[in-house]
């Protein structure tokens, strides 16, 4: 009977310092919904890494978070360059981030691996030259 709850966020690609805003907003919303600290942490880390990726590689994008009683679904969509080799991109420490981004302390090649590690399901749909959509799911155990 309960209707899905969806939040949408625009991730601004021009402003590096804004990356993390969606993740902070998500944290607050999930706290209101009474999720356990562990679930909140996993979702916000995955969201944060996704946001940073969109800012570094794709000039921003769109993030949506859908909350259902048994799962939280995050969808991050961008119209950036796409990922050429997904398998390689998933390797820890592999990064295509430019030097200037690495100098800022980002681009350690942990973004996608962390997103996978902290979520229960992750799906990457990408087309070179067109963009990437990443869907992540965190399941909610009955008791939390």
């Amino acid at each position: 009977m309960s209707e899905d709850l969806t939040f949408s966020y625009v991730v601004d690609g021009d402003n590096f310092t804004c990356a993390g805003e969606a993740s902070s907003a998500v944290k607050k919303q999930l706290r209101w919904l009474g999720f356990s600290p562990d679930i909140i942490r996993r979702v916000s880390i995955a969201m944060y890494e996704g946001e940073i990726n969109m800012v570094i590689h794709a000039g921003g994008g769109q993030a949506t978070l859908t909350v259902q009683p048994d799962k939280i679904v995050m969808v991050l969509t961008d119209h950036g360059p796409g990922i050429e080799n997904v398998e390689l991109a998933m390797k820890e420490g592999y990064s295509t981030a430019p030097e200037r981004i690495r100098n800022l302390g980002f681009g350690a090649g942990m973004g996608l691996p962390n997103m996978k590690r902290y979520t229960d399901e992750m799906r990457i749909e990408t087309k070179v030259g067109e963009g990437t959509t990443i869907t992540m799911v965190v399941y909610i155990p009955k008791s939390v």
């Binding site: 309960s2 607050k28 706290r31 209101w32 919904l33 009474g34 942490r41 916000s44 880390i45 909350v67």
Partner: protein
């Protein structure tokens, strides 16, 4: 937690229901209801921002009155180091300490001296490799309360050593019993002279389970006036002071952090900065630091709302005062990293989220949906007329049944609220 006692409170007769406090409260803990402010106790962190900004002086801090100090007990004053910064042209702390004896205390134990012990134990504690870093100071009770309400993963980062005022209370009692073997424990009362309401709340709330050793809390403001009347430079004060630069340095931001004698620290003051730093630690972004000192008030404890003098002036005065003092006069009395059991902070910084809409997940989701819809209909100008700090907070208040849509100014003015988007209504 249910017994949490707040020092910050409202004088209803002075409150005219303006929006200054609701807009500035860092935890959105205040609403205007029926023409007056209402402080939501679960959300209040006793930071004192509302006391500072209320133009009508309707917010106040509750603390003990100096006249309530019992005459027939052995009375020990514990002055916070911020007290020393209040006086013009003060060149010797002993004038203040002598003054405390002259206004009726039997003994004085400087919180600055206890702070030096805490600093020494903190340095030893930080050498341990099995502790979660960065370690966060507990000296500002606003910060520890904020952590309990919002940051479930930061509880274990909190320094497990009692704050200086509590260590001072323990040492002061011990010293009094040594000097006066005829005294029984119940003959001694210990009074902390506080720069802020948060310390009052901390002591009162801890007091509920009797883990505090402090019996009375007076405000620096009240004691300052008492002291001005007796502090005359014509007589030489007794040599009572036993603290150095480190202890007095604790009064302002950075004092505690620099005392760890290690460059891997961060010190931030002002509640907005404190929240931002905690967010960063929570996001795991500050892992290469050893120690975090956070003070809710601008300038540190010298900026507390129960002080008299502008925090930066007080800080400048403390610089002068500290100039000829030794670095520290108090050291831990053992060589290992062990913190004595009596100094260990037993308080549990358990997570107490306050904003959960409903314990039932489906109900909470349904409420959140209604909040999101209502938010889109509201003007979004955050005018505060309704008594909630923002349109978003108002939407939540309405859905929680704590406010009515009709309270919205735009609605009252007869303007239609924004149409609900059609696709959401089905």
């Amino acid at each position: 937690m249910a017994l949490f006692h707040h020092s910050v409170s409202l004088d209803k007769s002075k409150c005219i229901g303006c929006t200054n406090c609701i807009k500035r409260c860092p935890t959105e803990a205040i609403r205007i209801r029926d023409g007056h402010a209402y402080i939501i106790p679960e959300r209040c962190i006793d930071c004192g921002v509302c006391i500072r900004i209320c133009p009508h002086k309707a917010k106040k801090a509750v603390f003990d009155k100096f006249e309530s100090l019992p005459k027939d007990k052995y009375k020990i004053a514990l002055p916070a180091p911020a007290l020393y910064g209040q006086f013009e042209n003060l060149d010797d702390v002993n004038y203040v300490l002598q003054g405390l004896l002259d206004i009726g205390f039997d003994d004085v134990y400087e919180v600055a001296a206890a702070a030096e012990l805490v600093s020494d134990y903190t340095r030893r504690y930080l050498r341990r490799t099995d502790i979660p870093k960065p370690v966060i100071s507990t000296a500002c009770p606003v910060v520890s309360r904020l952590i309990m309400l919002r940051y479930p993963f930061l509880g274990e980062h909190i320094l497990p050593i009692k704050q200086p005022m509590e260590v001072a209370a323990i040492e002061a009692r011990k010293r009094a019993m040594q000097r006066h073997p005829e005294l029984k424990a119940e003959d001694i009362v210990v009074a902390f002279i506080s720069p802020c309401p948060a310390k009052v709340s901390y002591i009162r709330s801890e007091g509920a389970d009797s883990s505090t050793n402090i019996d009375y809390v007076f405000s620096i403001r009240e004691i300052y006036l008492e002291l001005l009347a007796v502090m005359k430079k014509d007589k030489q004060p007794a040599e009572l002071s036993g603290s150095g630069r480190i202890g007095i340095g604790w009064a302002s931001i950075g004092g505690e952090a620099t005392a760890i004698m290690n460059d891997k620290y961060l010190a931030a003051d002002g509640i907005e900065n404190v929240i931002r730093v905690l967010d960063e630690i929570d996001n795991g972004l500050l892992e290469n630091l050893d120690f975090i000192e956070l003070d809710a008030c601008n300038g540190g404890c010298v900026g507390g709302v129960l002080t008299v003098i502008n925090p930066y002036i007080a800080k400048a005065r403390l610089h002068t005062l500290r100039h000829y003092l030794p670095i520290s006069q108090n050291w831990a009395n053992n060589d290992d990293a062990e913190v004595p059991a009596e100094y260990l902070d037993e308080a549990e910084y358990e997570y107490h989220p306050v904003s959960v809409l409903d314990q039932d997940r489906e109900t909470a989701i349904e409420m959140m949906n209604r909040i999101e819809k209502l938010k889109k209909m509201l003007p979004g100008n955050d005018c505060g007329f309704c008594g909630s700090p923002t349109c978003a907070a108002f939407a939540a208040d309405v859905v929680k049944g704590q406010a009515k849509v009709e309270d919205c100014f735009t609605y009252l003015r007869g303007e239609p609220l924004k149409k609900e988007p059609a696709d959401d209504s089905q």
